[in-house]
Symmetry: C2
Subunit: 439 residues, 2 copies
Amino acid sequence: MAAYRRDQAPWAEDGPPVCVVRPRTAEEVQLVVRACLRHRVPVVPRGAGTGLSGGANTVDGCVLLSTEQLTAIREIDAAERLAVVEPGVVNDVLRAACAEHGLWYPPDPASAPWSTIGGNVATNAGGLCCVKYGVTRDYVLGLQLVTGTGELVRIGRRTAKGVAGYDLTGLLTGSEGTLGVITEITLRLRPARDPERTVAGYFPSLAAAGHAVAAVTAAGLTPSALELIDRNALAAVDEWKNMGLSAEADALLLGRTDLPGSAGEQEAKALLACFTEAGATWAAASSDEEEAEALFSARKLAYPALERLGQVLSEDVCVPRGAVPDMLTRIEEIARRHDVRIATVAHAGDGNLHPAFVVPAGDTDTRRRAEAAFEDVLDAALALGGTVTGEHGVGLLKRAGLTRELPAPVLAMHTAVKQALDPHGILNPGKVIACAPRS
Amino acid sequence: MAAYRRDQAPWAEDGPPVCVVRPRTAEEVQLVVRACLRHRVPVVPRGAGTGLSGGANTVDGCVLLSTEQLTAIREIDAAERLAVVEPGVVNDVLRAACAEHGLWYPPDPASAPWSTIGGNVATNAGGLCCVKYGVTRDYVLGLQLVTGTGELVRIGRRTAKGVAGYDLTGLLTGSEGTLGVITEITLRLRPARDPERTVAGYFPSLAAAGHAVAAVTAAGLTPSALELIDRNALAAVDEWKNMGLSAEADALLLGRTDLPGSAGEQEAKALLACFTEAGATWAAASSDEEEAEALFSARKLAYPALERLGQVLSEDVCVPRGAVPDMLTRIEEIARRHDVRIATVAHAGDGNLHPAFVVPAGDTDTRRRAEAAFEDVLDAALALGGTVTGEHGVGLLKRAGLTRELPAPVLAMHTAVKQALDPHGILNPGKVIACAPRS
């Protein structure tokens, strides 16, 4: 059972489960939840375990419910542009299946090759293309789930629109397994899009990169990705691959456009102009797939490069996009103050930053300093009008941050909703909000 | 006070309020709610009263809280692409203010010249452009509200992304004043878009029009509007304006595209090809604003044309888009069976139909037959996998329909949420769901 105890979040606690169950049907999920209800035993749902906040970590004495056997793609309906899937379907598998029908499921978390749609829904996962296409919640039409009282129900709809009652589907999405156990998901799809064009720019300062991002917004452009890699992440890639990235720049910006035909060509040119006018020391655009991949390689290599150096905790604050340069400066100050290595990759167009804390294996002293720096990063984001989590979720790691972000009467609303839908407190207890069961 | 008792829904009941209050600040709203709490008096929030389900109708002994004095546009931030407004701001007023900053607030209910953002949020209003750009909920980032326990709180965020706790903002959106009284709204905006091109087609049968809609989807097109006007609506316009529309066609389809430049030209051509190949007897495209307005005139004249003939109840079912022709056929059958005049305008691309029931003033017999037909239309939509309300909300008119749409355990989830956030049952009681207060 050890392999089922933790997700990918370092430092979050886990407790011994009483068993691991791998139901094959929604009805079996219901049986598990009903048994847990009868014995007042916590049930912790788990997808692929790629979460980054400890949301899927086991709690003491729980039943770990793995969705790994619930992998059916039930339906892909091109006429209605929707898919119906079981929660254990891997994101990239669904994406490939949709492509065969000329359709596209946009949400693209970095974990897409491994993470499951169920986990994506539970955490309301984001990704690179959210800047233009939104997050997982924007694609969830309906859910089948087992409730906190053991009922197997369907909520939401198959139609494009619908306002029949409260938006329970949106409420369950991002609830990290604390309001119900998802057994089936109905997803909205888009038509397949045109190939993307890529624009890259190296900037001599964070301020200049920030100006470029602001210029993109001011020009009314809607890139399909707008990523930033800071000098610390570039340096880590250089230490490994010796690409000479960090010598050239304080920040690398990567933009993409997927507008069709000449409109795409024009938007790529406009992105390039924004980069150049903001002071890029080098900038280039490409519609060639191989060339574009090369431009994006620093983005893709950043995490593996950091993981060579030790345990990596990927942080996830989100600030107003205009505050990105300021937030990056504050992160560097925090790293210096606590003497911790932090390298940042950011969905710059969304203001969503992923500062990565690197702690050499077994170095408990650095870990202590990193944990203090981690909380300082959350406070810095809140001071800039941001949130402690843009797309990874609260899980265990952000519970303290959440109580700093939300005032008491709002936390009380969250608690009231939790108690309303999980009156016996058996659904992934202790995650998101601490909350005593009503009975 | 009589002017404040009803919204635009015929046939829904209303009761005498004890008073009408018109607060000028959020703090005054809080005072009102707290006074109502103290005396266990219902509070019914009201925007412009353009609702179509009775959601803003007064209930016996309530305080009617009008947002008409809360009309400040607090902020339009072009760099963050957001606006902060008070609930009484009229949709078109906000739209115009955004345009001055090169920005666009997409949700465009037909009531946009009169309806308020607060009402749009309370009902999760849709409109013509939802088929491409989504509904009101997709644009609500955050809310300030007075809760059912009298607290003045902010929920949601100003950042592009955020998953700090449950999606209370999405939950409040569309809750029709039953979970909180909204005092401020933070809205996501888009950059101003290119001028639209319009495509119109007349079809000899509902089936042919249905084929055209399916062909648009199959071709991977994403029109910015796709509207259908049935022969009964065309006939009503003809009776008034003698435009010769209904002689030519069983249905008129109107499509729009807002892709920039040549991509837009290409999409308009592709729409035209879909219309023609599906059997349009006449079809044309235009990028000329005046010509496009002329093509759309039948859509705009349909309701006024019907209102000449009596009281009009605009229905709002939503079905899978492939079921639109079938639903239109069933509506005609229901009209014949109950001997009621029903004319339908539909957001065909969304499967959202607005059958309009026409009842001559004072004709109680026809009204009785129309009410029976109304419930049959809801049942027909449910039988086709649809919902009883696509964008108008449940209010009073759809409460019976809602209990036919949602199974008991799902209704129980709705009730639990209502009781959690409005424990004393003072917020717009009796709307959406019947629900006894916990205390």
